[in-house]
Each structure stands twice: as structure tokens, then as C-alpha cells.
Assembly symmetry: C2
């Protein structure tokens, strides 16, 4: 069995019913079938993009030089600092968080210094929120903290603002020399303010390859540096990604997980009227992966009034007590992508006690692992019986190798889906207006102060 597999029967006829408007005909996936033809065109686009160098993320697993550089920086810094704070937002944070939540023990990370091993504690400073920024800076002892400032462009407003505060605090506490010694940048190899600062002040800086965009950067130094610094096996992450890449470049649609996932989700949206794509892992450790996917899917494909599924990050079994009612009985406009995790280290046995309380007794003799997995199976089946489509990503064991595979699978799926939807999955033109308005409102030189529609007090209660 592969570390990551895809089960897609619950989207097909006759398993999900025989109405062609509600379930897909599997014949269309066969060689020469209509969905296969769509896939072949997308696969060709992926190969072209790889040849032309446009899809840099595909080659990250082979970049031994870059991986070694990250590991060396991590090793040299990791031993000197008890805390690593990653300062970045969106694509500069979500990948690293997804790795950390999946592979580090959260409670270990919160444990006291004495209880931890020799790796630094890891924090992410993501939002430009004064409350959480102030709270983190109060908590962290600056003398033992390394700040990894991550911005590909070197000009992200939130991250630059936090950099200004951090630099100021470091200078105050440790003097000019302290500033330099507690900073590490991850940014464009040539351009931008962070790169210029790095050169001027001899601040160490890792590169984000120019052909790797923010939301495709998890396997670049953006995601790898925090991973390597906290003891994650970066080689395994990359090896898992390389294995998955080989599977995602196969010509045979029915053996290509990215091909299947992309044509099926696209068809679910455009043919079965299911534009809401619910990504629902049954594992607390994959909560941040769901947010990472939400960015990847939403920002890559949301490009036209007629195109762009809505990704909804959920969590099993928790959201059975929140969203399941809507999934079962609300509008039939959703397809669920379950993520099922296999073997867990501690299944946690449920004692067979309380024979007098049937609500407790039937659980005894099972494990918590079994309960969670049974709930996933029951929810999948309940949706199927209601004619509601789903897919299941099966992760044999949640480790660096399978996680690397998931990242690669979902990234290739996204690029292929871009071809199906007829949009460029690599850009994000729609966010520019908000940035320009923000700069203008803050009085940035060269940016016109915007005319804002005045708040109308009449419409306030």
C-alpha cells in the first residue's frame, strides 16, 4: 500500500446512485473517455510548465544543494536558540504550520524548557494583530530567540510591520550587534527590501526560488527551515514528495492520484453543482493542513465569476457536531474530501466498565482510535446513503514521508485543476486593489490617497 492513496468510489455511479446529474459515470475515466481527455490536456500543461521552469515547486524535492543549505543553517542556529519565531503570513506561514502541527507534539512544544529535548520551541507570528503580537513578545525571552522573517517579495505589509517592532525590541534589549545575530530572513534571492537589508547588514538569508510562489513554497526554505530547526526529517519530506510526483506524472488517469482528484473535483463543481469543497481530516494534527489547502485551492482557482470552488476547512470528528447537519440535509452543493489516518502510536484503550450505563458500556473494549475511525466510516456512509458525494485520502501513517506526499499531491492537483477551469493557478491579481488602498490610506509615497466611500451613519444600528 502507498503511504497516501485516494478512494473515489463515493462520487461514482452506481455507488452514489445512477442519476448522471448526481454521480459521475466511471466509463468517462477510461482511456479515451471525456474526463481522461481533460486529464491528458492538464498533464501536458504540467509537463510544459515543468520544462519551462514555471512550476518550480515540482523540482524542489531534487534540490539537494538547497536542502543541505537549509539543514546547515538549521543545525548552526538550532543549538544556540531555545525559541524560533517564524514571522510571515499566508503562504509564508501556512506550510510551516502544517508541518509543525502534523509532526511535532503540540504539548511538547508548550512544555517547559526543562522538559523539552534539545530542539528550540516553535512559534508562528502570523497576523498583524497587536494583541497576539504583544502577547508573544511578552512571553519570549529575546536573548534566546531567533526570528525567521519570511516574505518572498520582501515587502509584505504585515510582516514588514512586525519586523520593525522586532528589530526595535532586539536593539533595545541587545544592542546593534544583537539585532543581526537574532535574525534570519527567507526571501527572494535577489530582490526586495529584506534581501537588500540582508546584504547591507550581513543578516543571514535563505532564498525562495523565483519560480516558486508563496502558496507552493512549503518544500522550499519557507517550510523546510522551521521543520529542520525543530528536528523534522527534511529528507523524508522531500522523498515522500518525489515519490508522489512520479505517481502524479503518470499517463494512466486511473493510476494518477492528482489526475483523478482534479478531474473529479472539477466535475463535482461544474457538472454535479457541488462548488463547495470541504477538506475534512479526521486528525487534530492535520488542522493546519486544511488551512494550507484552503489557501492553495481558493487563491489558485478563484479567478472568474464563473469559476472557482469554495474550499471549506473542517475537522473530524469535531465538525460532525457543527457542519454535518448542513452536509447531510442542506443544499446539495458540497463534496467532502475526507483525510483518513491509519496506524497511530497510541490507540488509547477504552476500559470495559460501567456495565450499568449503556451510553458508556458499548464503548468499552474498543480504542479511541477505533471510535474516531468508525465515525469517519459512518459519516462517509451516511453521506453516501443521502446521495452526497465524497472522496477519501487515506494516509497509512502520518509521518514526514506521507506528509511530503500530501503536499505534492495537492499542489499538482491544483495546477491540473487550473487547466480544467481555464485559469492561471499561479497568480492572484484580485488581492492587489486592497494592498493599494491600504498603502494609500497609510500615506505611502507615490501612492494616490484613495477616495473612500464615506461610512453612512444612517446604515448603522
Amino acid at each position: 500500500m502507498s503511504p497516501v492513496s485516494l478512494n473515489y468510489g463515493n462520487l461514482l455511479q452506481p455507488r452514489l446512485g445512477s442519476d448522471a446529474a448526481k454521480a459521475l459515470d466511471p466509463e468517462r475515466l477510461a482511456p479515451g473517455g471525456e474526463l481522461d481527455a481533460r486529464f491528458q490536456a492538464a498533464l501536458e500543461r504540467v509537463r510544459e510548465g515543468r520544462r519551462s521552469g514555471e512550476l518550480g515547486f515540482l523540482d524542489l524535492p531534487d534540490d539537494q544543494r538547497l536542502a543541505r543549505q537549509v539543514q546547515e543553517v538549521a543545525d548552526s542556529f538550532g543549538q544556540w536558540f531555545h525559541t524560533l519565531v517564524v514571522v510571515g503570513i499566508g503562504g509564508s506561514s501556512l506550510g510551516g504550520r502544517a508541518i509543525a502541527e502534523a509532526l511535532l507534539d503540540r504539548h511538547w512544544n508548550e512544555a517547559s524548557d526543562e522538559a523539552r529535548d534539545h530542539f528550540p520551541r516553535l512559534h508562528f507570528l502570523e497576523n498583524a494583530d497587536p494583541d497576539s503580537t504583544a502577547a508573544l513578545l511578552r512571553q519570549v525571552d529575546l536573548r534566546g530567540a531567533l526570528f525567521n522573517v519570511v516574505s518572498k517579495s520582501g515587502g509584505t505589509a504585515e510582516t514588514m510591520a512586525q519586523y520593525l517592532i522586532i528589530e526595535d525590541r532586539l536593539r533595545e534589549a541587545l544592542g546593534d550587534e544583537g539585532v543581526r545575530g537574532h535574525l534570519l530572513f527567507t526571501t527572494d534571492p535577489e530582490r526586495g527590501a529584506l534581501r537588500r537589508l540582508a546584504l547591507e547588514r550581513e543578516i543571514p538569508a535563505l532564498p525562495v526560488p523565483q519560480n516558486v510562489g508563496g502558496r507552493f513554497s512549503v518544500l522550499s526554505p519557507v517550510g523546510l527551515l522551521p521543520a529542520a530547526t525543530t528536528g523534522v526529517d527534511v529528507g523524508e519530506l522531500l522523498a515522500g514528495a518525489a515519490e508522489m510526483r512520479a505517481r502524479c506524472l503518470r499517463d494512466d488517469l486511473r493510476r494518477n492520484p492528482a489526475g483523478l482528484l482534479s478531474v473529479l473535483l472539477h466535475a463535482a463543481d461544474t457538472e454535479l453543482d457541488c462548488p463547495v469543497h470541504v477538506f475534512m481530516p479526521y486528525s487534530d494534527r492535520l488542522r493546519a493542513l486544511a488551512l494550507w489547502f484552503q489557501q492553495l485551492w481558493g487563491e489558485s482557482l478563484g479567478k472568474a465569476p464563473t469559476a472557482g470552488p469554495t474550499p471549506l476547512a473542517a475537522l473530524g470528528a469535531v465538525d460532525q457536531h457543527s457542519l454535518l447537519q448542513l452536509l447531510m440535509e442542506g443544499p446539495r452543493d458540497k463534496v467532502v474530501i475526507f483525510v483518513r489516518v491509519g496506524r497511530r502510536d497510541e490507540p488509547l484503550e477504552l476500559p470495559a466498565t460501567h456495565a450499568e450505563h449503556p451510553e458508556l458500556a458499548y464503548l468499552g473494549g474498543h480504542t479511541l482510535d477505533e471510535l474516531l475511525d468508525t465515525e469517519l466510516r459512518a459519516t462517509t456512509e451516511a453521506l453516501r446513503r443521502r446521495g452526497r458525494p465524497s472522496l477519501t485520502l487515506q494516509v497509512e501513517r502520518l509521518d514526514a514521508r506521507s506528509l511530503g506526499g500530501l503536499f505534492m499531491l495537492l499542489q499538482v492537483t491544483t495546477v491540473m485543476a487550473g487547466a480544467h477551469y481555464g485559469v492561471d493557478p499561479l497568480n492572484q491579481p484580485g488581492v492587489e486593489l486592497g494592498k493599494v488602498l491600504t498603502s494609500g490610506l497609510l500615506g505611502r509615497e507615490g501612492v494616490e490617497p484613495p477616495e473612500m466611500a464615506a461610512d453612512d451613519e444612517k446604515w448603522t444600528v
Copy 2:
């Protein structure tokens, strides 16, 4: 100015454009207008539900006896324990989490025992996930831990399973007496396994009033006990809720925030084709409130193939780097509910340095608070210019009083929206099938083992 206000101009003509298919005519909100008529019918339903006792959550702010009982239990336990673990899922957890994240300093909560004041540290054990359950139990010193097990029915599978494990660990570590002394239940006053156990073994137990459902229970002992135990001013929460209730029972639609919010969101869905309701606070402290709202809105209204908006919990400014592209240029099927927070204690000044780097220089002299708020204003305006609707909930200052107001506002809004959609907002029949299948698969006595559609290996890659 009220602690919580609603600005709704960005959904109306002519501010959002003059096309009636894309923006609502404000005349319809005037007395006798069509939306006012819809509101009056819903308001009557709320009043009826209050009179009949069906809407128990409305009267929680007046229940001084219950609030005192919670405070006494909190005071008597709080001084003996250094850790409070709330064990519950969905409505038994989300409200408490929303209070804790909004009002407690997250990093204070993670700080070492010495650094904290005299209130216990707070954890939520929500998911039946063996990884996170094992990690939490490894971290917590059982001798100083109180477990507040919360399940209204007393039979929630995930919570009962975790109870079995916790009881076993307590007995092992502390003996039979230890078990009793470290448990506190919150459950139905008369029925269910937890209530029976409480009586049999003299375990202290707080009541969830029978006319208060899980997702409407935040101002009952479910949410109040963890709040009171960690030093939140429960009286202020309830006072804020009572103030808001008075505003939400006003006859004049244009002075009734719940009336406006419910008719506008319902009309956005059914008339403007915006069924995706994005709840997007610009504050890390309101992240859990967004999840709480997601449950409230989704589970209350998702009842029919033709009815039920999809709630999407987001976070500003983080999701400007994730979902904003989709909101700006994707399908025009979303309305955003921004939550804007006013005065913050530490605005965090940005030093005016780096004159030679324009990407940094323009931020100097502002505060981080200003940056975040400017981004909210810019994003709202960018959406408006694109003809995309939004609403803004303005919170003058994020404290117990305004938070209580938000809870009440959103709960009344949900009940009114139930009337607009023609569904019962208080039940959740769609989750039953999954529960029955789970029980059957685990071999619960009296439950038929279900026939499951066999996994078809043919559809696995």
C-alpha cells in the same frame, strides 16, 4: 456608541450599485416594507418562543441563581487546582473556547505555573483523537487537574470515551477517592448517564437547562464555568447579553440589530445569490468565535435542499493572503460579515526607521493596530468597488460585556433566520444517521449492525 453595532450600508443600493439583483433596496426595510414584514413575523416567533419557554437561551442573562451557583463552584474549585480541562465537543466546547480565546491571554495560558496568577490554566479536550488526547494527558499533572466533563445528553460518544480514559487514569494515579474529587459534570438536570453517575457517586454536577440546546448554551454553565474558573467576569458577560437582548426585541427593524442582520443575510442568500456567509473578524482573539458562529449558523439553518447558507469561518488580515482572491474575483456567491474591533490596549508603535527602504518607511509612525484596521477598511472598500456585499459588526472594545452582546446578537439572529428560511433552528435531525451507524459498527446492544457499502478497491489509487 453601543458596545456592539452593525453597519450594513455595503449591502444596499446605491452604495453597492443600483442593480436590484445585486444590492438591496433600503426602502424595503422601512415600516411596512417587505423586509420589515418578514422581520415582524420572525420577531413574533421569537416572542412566542420566549413565552412558551422554548427559547431558554433568551432568559439565561436573568438567571441570577444559576450564575451564582456557577461562580460558587468556580471559586471553590479554582483555588485547589492548577489546571482545568474541559472535556466536550461541539456546543459543549465552542462557546467556552470562544470566551477563553477572546478574554484570556493565550500566552499567559501557556506560561509556566510560576508566571501565572492564581487562576488555573485552561485546556479543552474536544476531539476523540488519540494523538491529542494522549499528548494532553502526558502534559497534565493529574494531582492538580480538574476535569469538567460537558455533555447535555450525557451520552455523547466522543466525550463518554474520553471520560472512560480519564476516570481510569485518575483511579490509577489517585485511587477511588481521587476520581470523585477531580471531576465536575455539566449535564442535563435530570436525565442521562452523567447525571446518574453524579448521583450514584456524589460527583458535583452543574445543570444545562432543558430548554437550552448545545449550540445556544454558551451563557449557561457550559460556557460560564470555564469562564468563571479562569477569572472572567461572568456578570459582565450576562449584562452585555441582557442589553443586547433588549435591542434585539425592538419592534423597529431599523433599530434592531438581530432583525437587520437576519433579514439582510437571508436576502443576500435567497435574492442576491450569496449563500456563502463568510464570518471574518480582524482579531486573533475572535478566531474561536468564528468557529462558534459556524456551528450556530450551519447546524441551525442547514435543514433543506433549498435552504441553508454555508458559513465559512475566516480571519483578517490572515485570510487576505488566502481567501481574498476568491472573494474578489471568484463567483459572486459570498457575503462577508466583518468584525471590527475598536480600542486595543497596546496598539504597538511602528518605529519610523529605514528611510532608504520604501517598503518599510511608509509604515513608520503608524501603529500595528492602525495597519490592521486600515486593512479591514481597504478590504471592505475593495469588495464594495467590485460590487461584492459585506456587513460590519463593530465592537467598540473587546471585553466580557461586548462579547456577551455578540453571543446574544448572533443567537437571536439565528432564530429569526430560522423563521425567514422556514426551518426549525433548534433541532439537528441530520446527524442521527451517522450516530446510529457508529453505534452499530461498535456493536452497541439494541442497535442493528449496519450493512455498509463495501469499499471497492477498484476505485482506489
